[in-house]
C-alpha cells in the first residue's frame, strides 16, 4: 500500500508541475499566436568571404484581395557576416506572416559557420542550440572582388511565358553603390486559365561590395507586392563571439544533415 501511495503522489506531483509550467514561447497552450517548438538551420548555398557587414533586412508585403481589402506584414532580420563567410541571423516569428497572427515575439537565431563546419539554430528563451552538420555551399565560394551575381533561373518550364530583362543602371542605396535589374515575366493569356496576360515584375538592386541584393521589389497580381531592403548597414568586422554558441546554451546535435543540395546544384 505504501508503494501504491508513492506512485499516486508522483502522478499528482507530475501532473501539477506539467500544468503549471508555461510552455516556451511566452503564452499558454491555447493562447493566441504560434508557440515555438524548435528550429533547425538548413543549408547555405553560397559562402561570401571578404565582405563583412551587419544590417537589418526589412521585408514589407502587401496583399490585395479581390474585394479591395489589404493584408500587410512586416518582418525584420538582423543580419551579420564576417570576413570568413560566417553568417548570423536574428529574427522573430513575425516573419511567418499569417501563421504568426496574434504572436510572433519569439526570437530565433541561425548561425552558419563554414569555418567550423556547422550550423546552429539558437533558442534564446530556452538557452538551447540545435546543431546541424555543415553541408557546404552547392555553388562555390565567392571571395571579395569576384562580384558575380548569383545566376537566377526563371523556373516553370512548359508555361507559355516570356521573360524580359532590363538594366536599370547604377544607383546608391543605403550608401552602397548598386546595379539595378528589372525582370518582367509575362504569363500569356490562357496559360493558367487567365483571361488576360499576367505580368510579374521583379526589380533587384545588387551591391558588388556586399555581393548580395540590397533592395528587391516584386509585384505579382496574384499575391501582391513585396519589398525587401537592407538598412542600417555597417561594414565593420563583427565580433567572432556572434558566431559561437554561448557557453550556457545546451547543444543538441543532429548526426546527419537534414538538407542536401539539389542534384543539379551538386553537379556544378
Amino acid at each position: 500500500m505504501k508503494v501504491y501511495n508513492s506512485f499516486a503522489f508522483l502522478l499528482a506531483a507530475a501532473a501539477l508541475a506539467f500544468a503549471q509550467n508555461p510552455p516556451p514561447g511566452g503564452r499558454g497552450r491555447f493562447g493566441a499566436g504560434p508557440r515555438f517548438l524548435g528550429a533547425q538551420a538548413g543549408m547555405t548555398t553560397r559562402v561570401v568571404k571578404g565582405a563583412p557587414f551587419s544590417g537589418d533586412l526589412v521585408t514589407e508585403s502587401t496583399e490585395t484581395l479581390a474585394d479591395g481589402n489589404h493584408i500587410r506584414h512586416t518582418s525584420t532580420v538582423h543580419l551579420v557576416r564576417d570576413s570568413e563567410g560566417r553568417t548570423r541571423r536574428e529574427e522573430s516569428l513575425a516573419g511567418l506572416g499569417a501563421l504568426a497572427a496574434g504572436g510572433g515575439a519569439q526570437q530565433v537565431v541561425f548561425i552558419h559557420d563554414p569555418v567550423a563546419g556547422a550550423s546552429y539554430a539558437l533558442d534564446p528563451v530556452q538557452k538551447t542550440a540545435n546543431k546541424s552538420a555543415w553541408t557546404g555551399p552547392a555553388r562555390g565560394v565567392r571571395s571579395s572582388g569576384a562580384a558575380i551575381e548569383p545566376r537566377r533561373e526563371i523556373r516553370g518550364g512548359g508555361l507559355n511565358q516570356s521573360v524580359k530583362t532590363e538594366a536599370l543602371g547604377a544607383a546608391t542605396i543605403e550608401g552602397l553603390p548598386a546595379q539595378g535589374t528589372r525582370i518582367t515575366v509575362t504569363i500569356a493569356a490562357g496559360a493558367i486559365g487567365n483571361e488576360a496576360p499576367i505580368q510579374v515584375v521583379t526589380e533587384r538592386w545588387y551591391s558588388s561590395d556586399l555581393q548580395m541584393a540590397i533592395l528587391v521589389k516584386r509585384s505579382d497580381p496574384r499575391s501582391g507586392e513585396t519589398v525587401t531592403r537592407l538598412t542600417n548597414v555597417t561594414r565593420a568586422e563583427p565580433s567572432s563571439a556572434l558566431f559561437q554558441v554561448p557557453p550556457e546554451y545546451k547543444v543538441a546535435e543532429h548526426a546527419a544533415p537534414l538538407f542536401r543540395p539539389p542534384a543539379d546544384a551538386a553537379a556544378q
Partner: protein, 152 residues
C-alpha cells in the same frame, strides 16, 4: 521377460492411483516448494501503478521532446533525408518569392492555433477536436516564410 511385462501392463491398464495419493503428493510438493499467491487486489494495484508511471513518462516526453527533423522540403531545392518517409509535402506560401537568396532556407517548428490554418486560406479539418496544429515552416534568409507543412 518382456512378454510378461507387456501382459502385466495390459492387465493393469484400467488401474490408477487412488485420489487420496494424488492429493498427498500435491500437498507434499507445495510444502517443499512454497509458492506465494498474491491477492487479486494487490495485483490490480501494481498494474495501476505501472500504468500511472507510463502515463507520466509519456506526458513529460510529449512536453519536452526535441525538434524532429523535417521529412520533405519540396519546392525549395531541398531534398529529404533518404531514411525518412514522405508524409506530406511543404505548401508554398503567397509572397514567398522575391527574396534575396531564394535557395537558403532554415526550418522553424511551431504549434499554431487551428485558426491560423484558415487564416492562410486553407480548409481546416473538421474531424479533429484539437485546438492546435503542429507545423514546420521553411524560412528564407529574409525571415519570411516560404512554405509550410502541417504535421497533424
Amino acid at each position: 521377460m518382456a512378454a510378461g511385462l507387456c501382459l502385466l501392463a495390459a492387465e493393469m491398464k484400467n488401474e490408477s492411483a487412488p485420489p487420496r495419493l494424488e492429493a498427498y503428493l500435491v500437498r507434499a510438493y507445495r510444502e517443499r516448494y512454497p509458492q506465494r499467491v498474491q491477492p487479486a487486489g494487490e495485483v490490480r494495484r501494481w498494474w495501476a501503478a505501472a500504468a500511472a508511471v507510463l502515463l507520466v513518462a509519456g506526458a513529460l516526453w510529449t512536453g519536452v521532446r526535441p525538434p524532429q527533423p523535417p521529412l520533405v522540403a519540396a519546392n525549395s531545392g531541398i531534398a529529404a533525408p533518404a531514411n525518412e518517409d514522405q508524409d506530406s509535402a511543404f505548401i508554398p506560401l503567397p509572397n514567398a518569392a522575391g527574396s534575396l537568396q531564394d535557395d537558403d532556407v532554415d526550418l522553424v517548428r511551431v504549434e499554431l492555433p487551428r485558426s491560423a490554418v484558415t487564416a492562410l486560406g486553407m480548409p481546416a479539418s473538421d474531424d479533429s477536436d484539437a485546438e492546435t496544429v503542429d507545423a514546420e515552416v521553411l524560412v528564407g534568409p529574409d525571415g519570411v516564410a516560404r512554405a509550410v507543412r502541417f504535421l497533424n
